[in-house]
Symmetry: C2
Subunit: 267 residues, 2 copies
Amino acid sequence: MFDSGIGGLTVVRELLRQLPDERLLYFGDTARLPYGTKSGETVTRFTLEAAEFLREHDIKALVVACNTASAYALPALQERLTLPVVGVIESGARAALEATRNRKIGVIGTSATVASLAYHRAVERLATGVEIVAHACPLFVPLAEEGWTHHEVTRLVAREYLTPVAARGVDTVVLGCTHYPILKDVIQEAVGPQVRLVDAGEGTARALSERLEAEGLRAPKSASPPEHRIFLSDLLPAFRATSERFLGQKLPPVEVVHWQDERWVRV
Amino acid sequence: MFDSGIGGLTVVRELLRQLPDERLLYFGDTARLPYGTKSGETVTRFTLEAAEFLREHDIKALVVACNTASAYALPALQERLTLPVVGVIESGARAALEATRNRKIGVIGTSATVASLAYHRAVERLATGVEIVAHACPLFVPLAEEGWTHHEVTRLVAREYLTPVAARGVDTVVLGCTHYPILKDVIQEAVGPQVRLVDAGEGTARALSERLEAEGLRAPKSASPPEHRIFLSDLLPAFRATSERFLGQKLPPVEVVHWQDERWVRV
């Protein structure tokens, strides 16, 4: 699994629950995060480099947990890798279509994800006559990382971003960034209790599961729990506490790697 | 001049005013920003790579406009480069010592800058018996980039961060991040009108000017204005508007470079 940082651990949480026998290699590009404020071209370049690292570790399938990376780099990844590649956007779009009754769907995400129109395209591939109301929420990531999950400031920011989305009459909102499930309570409050929030994590784990099943790649039931590995390109002192908040449990040991001479080097 | 992004343009503004005949090469590492949330080791590595780019362009002096880069990488830069290297922290410390009456100085900056204790060390080198009250304000950078310079949210965040700083009785606060001058009004409101805000930009331009003078490196008076160049490692659509807000005037054309095979490549 690849993510620009540690937000993808909210997807890992779901994955460990649904696929307890699969061994997970997680790579978070913490040295170059965030991706959501950068150009599509840079996001694609960084994502291809990260995928290369995981491919060298002999993975059988790749999950792109980062919405921004999924929005820009999925076609390039699918073209270059011969293994199954699952992004979060298609799963998010699918889950939103299952949830909506009035066919008006809100999508919130980083500036780059919203600018990509990737959710619009994913929904259009799956259904017609659906209205999408997309809105970038650039302050949500720093607020989640600051740990202000129920702070008055976060409430105010959520109202500022989401009141116009709710006013358009959406009955479903896709949390189009892996950080956002952390802010679920405040987001729900801002859009109102009648709106359903859709988190791509659950759907992504399901999509991966189906894909592994279809390709005969599911791991056999194991007596001992599989040994997961976590690689990051930068290690911060505060990282463990934030990560365990995202993951909802203790983390395995973390290995740090740097991008040097067009390859990843252990440090 | 090097910065992690475009915040350094607030320093450029001062530099163009004080040194109108000098030709400026600005490099902003926008592909890997922000530096302020990353480890000292990663900040140093990125800064040395950026300095290498500017050195290849035959600069006569280097200004490190980014506080976080100055906090961690200045000794390594001074060791590797044979040219004058001016950081923002020493200038900021000097300006704060000139401004304070009660010798209690507040320092606000990114998490990495505050954790480095670089302002503590700079003040200790220059004076004794000075109390430093340092506080990290990680949400200020995203708020400045969102353009919420006078927003109610920004006021609330500023109160949350700065009330404890003001309560310690400081009479001077150093804006220890190049983004913060953009939020000056709100910061002033939060600390109260009796507190003097010190912006390292003005002092840095003065320090550079003195250093160039001392080394006989000042450019001669020129009839035509010098041709400045701006290099960025990522180009965002919204970049120009934000940059011109930071710089306070029109920008020269921007050139984009990527870090590849241990060197910077024009794209």
